[in-house]
Symmetry: C2
Amino acid sequence: MPFNSFDDYPLSWRPDRRVLRRPIYLALALQLEQDILSGYLAPETKLPPQRELADFLDINFTTVTRAYKLCELKGLIHAVPGSGTFVSSYAAQPATISVAQPTQQSVIDLGIVASFEQCNAMILETVRTVAEKTYLEQLFNYDHPTGMPHHKMAAINWMQRFGVETDAEHTAIVSGTQNGLTLATFALFAPGDRVGVDTYTFANFIELARMYRLHLVPIRGDEHGMLAEELEKQCRLNGLQGVYLVPSCANPTTVVMDESRKRELAKVISAHRLLLIEDDTHAFLTSGILSGYEGPLTRLVPERSVYLCGTSKSICSGARVAYMVYSDLLKEAVLKAIYNVNVKTSALDAEIITELILSGMAAKIVQEKRRCAEKANRLFYDIFPGQKRIGHPLSFYRWLPIQSKKPGIEVEQGFLQLGIRVYHSDRFLCGPPQEQRFLRIALATAANFPQLNQGLRIVRQGIEQASI
Amino acid sequence: MPFNSFDDYPLSWRPDRRVLRRPIYLALALQLEQDILSGYLAPETKLPPQRELADFLDINFTTVTRAYKLCELKGLIHAVPGSGTFVSSYAAQPATISVAQPTQQSVIDLGIVASFEQCNAMILETVRTVAEKTYLEQLFNYDHPTGMPHHKMAAINWMQRFGVETDAEHTAIVSGTQNGLTLATFALFAPGDRVGVDTYTFANFIELARMYRLHLVPIRGDEHGMLAEELEKQCRLNGLQGVYLVPSCANPTTVVMDESRKRELAKVISAHRLLLIEDDTHAFLTSGILSGYEGPLTRLVPERSVYLCGTSKSICSGARVAYMVYSDLLKEAVLKAIYNVNVKTSALDAEIITELILSGMAAKIVQEKRRCAEKANRLFYDIFPGQKRIGHPLSFYRWLPIQSKKPGIEVEQGFLQLGIRVYHSDRFLCGPPQEQRFLRIALATAANFPQLNQGLRIVRQGIEQASI
DNA sequence: GCATTTGTCGGTATACATTTG
DNA sequence: GCAAATGTATACCGACAAATG
């Protein structure tokens, strides 16, 4: 008879004691990982409390802590003091978002957020102009790893429209916003650091953080963005190193942060000496369009910020260019990250974007994209007339509440069978599950408006069916 | 009177006991970090053994272990069981290698390894051809994140010459070799993993590893590359997860790995289930040129490898393109890294490289670069006739033994004052200091051969002077 | 070749913080 | 608002492994 008889004790997970070779914590973690990946432990299963499992296994409970911790670092489970430890929703498959695979070309893609790629024809003339430049050869050497002087001048010029004040010494050209996020993460944080994010945040940042072993701490928000008092609280309790924010149009929720919230958050950032990554990809849809906009959050805490302004959404997705602005304090770390991750960004891509900006073509493209965004959003609300008009009115995606409580993967697969790619809120969720579920519907990805129309109608049918 | 009287005890570092607030290990680590960064503790200072310091502070010795460990993770110190713990050489300043700053344009750059940038004029016609392509617009959207099909075909075609067998499903276009290294590191390893490297290895990989908290384990080698038995030993002792190798011309040592060494290392990699990152930037200087070359190490352990073949050195540095080859086993992880770090690589840059390869211009550029390399190496041995002709005969850099035992930074600064940028072996060193010191002399960076000639003569003067 | 020095690892004990009811 | 449940953080102990002489 065993020392403790747990035969009738209701443990939600009973690891096999016989295969528990030393080191115990590793063997335990491995067993847990296998049982999650195999699907034996379903998403959101509550695992036994550390002390109970320790009693069952007749070991010290902090040894269970270590095993759980290991799995949490891998993103397999998440723990909340007082509540317990739970299997993560997206543990069994990657949440990375990318374009549809070639085999699935027949689906209408409302998943990844593109940028009305119809507009790309507007840049072709400029590409040919660049190819005729007398200084073309200078675009092809190792010089100017952070961008050529005139590329930076165009960048500064471009960002000035959005209320960003900087100079060439504190600006770099990087290879797109996502790349800039990686660089900023490398520069500002170390693996193991804690960074505050919106409860729903950019899925690829979640994945990046997982790879880098960055601990994301979800911070609650309201219709004006992240709540400053919640951020403050987490700082006190968990000692955050930084915060990642997308104030001009949060992805996926489309929430726009108002000026007073920016001021409140800036106070917390200063007081707790946080570092800020501000992703301002949507500046071109916000500045000068939404009333009350006075500039990015970065301008309130310039010393402690890395500001990112991508041109993929506003000008052209295929030219991999984003602008990065940083303070003197952070410069050395940022440059180190750039040299070690990129060496440099394609000067040819940067030259094309520069030429588009200086020739005024970029402004025309922005106008055209805004028109497309207006039209696409009108279409959306025509098809979903019951939806409240919250968040950014020109967003390239919408955040649609749904009734289904099925796991996100099943919902997505259900839509795929209807010929539609959409993403479920589970992909964007950081932390414990929420009562209300959503779909993120990209409006800027379908090849044309008739296809978008068709796609949205299928989505409406799908959520009305009990089957999804 | 204190509990233990250590007033006359010879501790090499005496942290201030009064400022040692709880948590002790953090306070201790912070004090150590400050004393190293301030220069108070000189490089290679031996720190007190954990037990002695613990006695002195009247705490448990594993608390010292934790404090030391934290600093080791930051790359500030390194520890060897049996020997002790030492302050790292390059702890106080970054080792990142990049182009000379604009303020120092007057120096002759023999530091960073460029690729005879004079050859870039040969690509300009191709750029204009690309700009006239009918499918130009397709280069500017989000499609084909790992490269367009014809880009991949050109890549496969190009790598076939070097003995690489792959297909489009296991090949991706990435943004240069350095970027590929980042991607491979993200894909294959987690922070805290241990990876074997040559005692002297690529400085930017050391920096990347430091940022990612990857623990690099130096493995000894001889004139044919890393010693298989040494790698085997470290696997047994330290449980390595992988190994990073540059077999066709190690950077900085120029060592070329021979076929039998490749077979020995492949056995160890298979036996211990290591993952291999093979950086084969120099394939174009080796395959079909050096006798006995039969192909990359990857072909012997294809399942467990990520193979990188950059085009920056062979074709054009400014077009940020490298080819990455991976097995089915590693595919998912690699794609995830690509999506999250890059989203995609500039298709325009990839198109230019593709056109250069398909038109045969790339082959002509390679020939020209080889001629330049021959000439530059001839120049080197003319100026340093006493040097043994070891390592790769066409290397774009040479590894020059020096007598000076001064710290690497001082040596580099001494040369800077002579108007020359070179890098000292300290930058490339992983692990404890070595008796013999070196300079890495880039031969492919000076603007032209007269300048290279002048630079090399100044270097010769410099190492003959007692002053450096 | 064995003892000593020195660093590493795994498990344990205790104090503490958060959530929930 | 307090008690119970539950996860977290930090320090400590003992066994072990590598390098050195």
